[in-house]
């Protein structure tokens, strides 16, 4: 028994590691192809079918390149930083359930590395350790652009970690669990299982119409999901929150002085982080491995994995879509968004969720509180900045109108 346990544990670890790295390598290709699509280009198409082996070629090239180290750099910290950027992202994948279960030789094997009862907190802890790689790289390079990138990233990632953590809290309140496996288990079945509207004439009928929908948290927790998505993009340091490596301002930010395999580690670390954030988003809001069942009894062990991967792919597409669309935020706008918009919005939503999910309060009161607070949140998010609204002089645009991502000045 114990030996089987050890073998299963090692096999699962290796499988998850290979899966994560494989997905990451494919993701690099995927992003280049998708962003090429969005810019009316073709993208990599030389190596392998559809350019699939391009990442491999790049990896081999980077592996054989010289790893330079500037003379003023701090040798040990300079060497540790890329590893410190990559490892937490890899570790965070340990709590992601990427499939249901499979029975091999009488052993029920769950497709999760480990089902910690503090799984979500573990994910947040690994996220908070991810800052080190970037901060240390910035400092250890002994050069000014990396230092600026490192200082930026430490401020940015701490700010958005708070919003990220708070955006997860409502889901934890709703599910009553910190374990990713049990959060996924609660999202099984159809939305018809939810009896929140039972006994209310009109709402019950409407809920009955929507019974074809799966019972995912996205229906009730979509505001938290939006907050999670914004904070998650900021956590991965990707556009439009790529200030730590802003090319047009800081050359390459924290990894300006890195080359060869060390740079490859930073590069892969960012993509692993993307995959992990997507996987956590799928797990918490989109039912994890749950999906439609077509053939009972056939491929029961495989379909959950397939659905999980499909959902993660859609998430990753969204990441690339964001990058292709939005321009980089200015630094003060970044802080403004994190502290003055995301944070209060997350806190408000936590209060709403907490009230709605308290069974002791009569249902109509809960609905009332939900409605009022919800309208307040919407009004508050959408109100914009009155000063700027006055300052805008209406004028005819000759070309396409500029896209305004956020309003208001720093205040």
């Amino acid at each position: 028994m114990t030996w089987a346990f050890v073998v299963i544990a090692i096999a699962k670890t290796i499988a998850a590691f290979v899966l994560l790295l494989g997905v990451t390598i494919l993701l690099v290709w995927f992003e280049r192809k998708v962003i090429a699509d969005m810019q009316a280009r073709i993208g990599p198409n030389r190596w392998g079918p559809f350019g699939l082996l391009q990442t491999l070629a790049d990896g081999i090239k980077l592996f054989f390149k010289e790893g330079l180290r500037p003379r003023p750099a701090d040798p040990w910290t300079f060497a540790i930083a890329p590893v410190a950027a990559m490892v937490p992202s890899l570790l965070a994948f340990a709590v992601v359930p990427f499939g249901h279960e499979v029975t091999i030789a009488g052993h029920r094997i769950f497709w999760t590395l480990t089902d910690l009862n503090i799984g979500i907190l573990y994910f947040l802890a690994m996220g908070s350790l991810g800052v080190y790689g970037i901060v240390l790289a910035g400092w250890a390079s002994g050069s000014k652009y990396p230092l600026l990138g490192g200082v930026r990233s430490s401020a940015q990632m701490i700010s958005y970690e708070i919003a990220l953590g708070l955006s997860i809290v409502p889901v934890i309140i709703a599910s009553g669990s910190l374990s990713t496996v049990s959060i996924v288990a609660q999202q099984g079945g159809s939305i018809a299982n939810v009896n929140a509207f039972n006994g209310i004439p009109v709402l019950e009928t409407i809920a009955h119409w929507f019974r074809f929908l799966p019972n995912w948290y996205i229906w009730s927790q979509w505001p938290a999901f939006i907050l999670f998505m914004i904070a998650g993009v900021a956590e991965t340091n990707r556009a439009p929150f790529d200030l730590p490596e802003a090319e047009s301002e800081l050359i390459a930010g924290y990894h300006t002085e890195y080359s060869g395999i060390r740079f490859a580690l930073f590069f892969l670390g960012e993509y692993v982080h993307m995959v992990v954030i997507s996987a956590i988003g799928v797990t918490l809001w989109f039912g994890g491995w749950h999906g439609p069942v077509f053939w009972h009894g056939w491929g029961d062990w495989l379909w959950p994995f397939v659905w999980f991967m499909v959902k993660v792919t859609i998430f990753l597409y969204t990441f690339v879509w964001l990058r292709a669309t939005l321009p980089r935020l200015r630094y003060d706008r970044l802080m403004w968004l994190g502290w003055k918009r995301l944070l209060p919005a997350a806190l408000t939503w936590i209060v709403v969720t907490a009230v709605v999910n308290t069974p002791d309060i009569p249902r109509y009161y809960r609905f009332g509180v939900f409605g009022i607070l919800f309208l307040m949140v919407i009004a508050w998010i959408g109100r914009g900045d009155p000063r700027l609204r006055e300052a805008v002089v209406p004028q005819r645009h000759l070309g396409p109108r500029p896209i305004t991502t956020s309003r208001g000045l720093d205040s």
């Binding site: 114990t2 910290t77 907190l121 573990y122 802890a125 400092w139 430490s154 970690e161």
Partner: protein, 198 residues
Amino acid sequence: MAGGVVQFVFAVTFVMALGCSIAMLFAPNAVHVALFLVGAQIALAVAFLLEGAQFDAIMQIIVYAGAIMVLFLFVIMLLGVDRREALVEPLRFQRSLAAGLGLLLAAALVYVGYRSVNLVVGGAGSGAIEAINRSPGNTQGIARVLFGTYELPFEATSVLLVVAIVGVMVLARRISGAQAREAARAEQEAAGREEEAA
């Protein structure tokens, strides 16, 4: 077998925590000091995990290693680490005072360690974590203790923190425009008077 593994991991964390702490004391570079502190904290988190205190372990990483130490690094980077520390003591009795207080702290630590060893050996104190972990789990147990038994001290601590934050904001707040102009005018007048005198 499981016990052997646990003891082995504990030994590793022990060596790591101790090594990092000692290295921290002797590292000349402020950033290295901070890094060794992070290492010690992660080792402590693993030790917590071995004891079954999962929530504490994760909080150790999120709060100390993830947030506070990053802020430390942030400040070190902003201020620059190349600055040499002044070795002249501005306060005359600082060293002797520090030595005395350090001795006191060491004595307290030895006493606590002695007592806890006694407790573990006697089997009296080892039940606390098990009691919290019993049902429905570590996190819920801690929540029950924190927001039930110790609610008043907990809330009092949070009020203390808020007071501290407000105090910092008052101290660090910028002078408003009118006040700044007033101050500048006073300074100019003082300078003018000095010139007249000279």
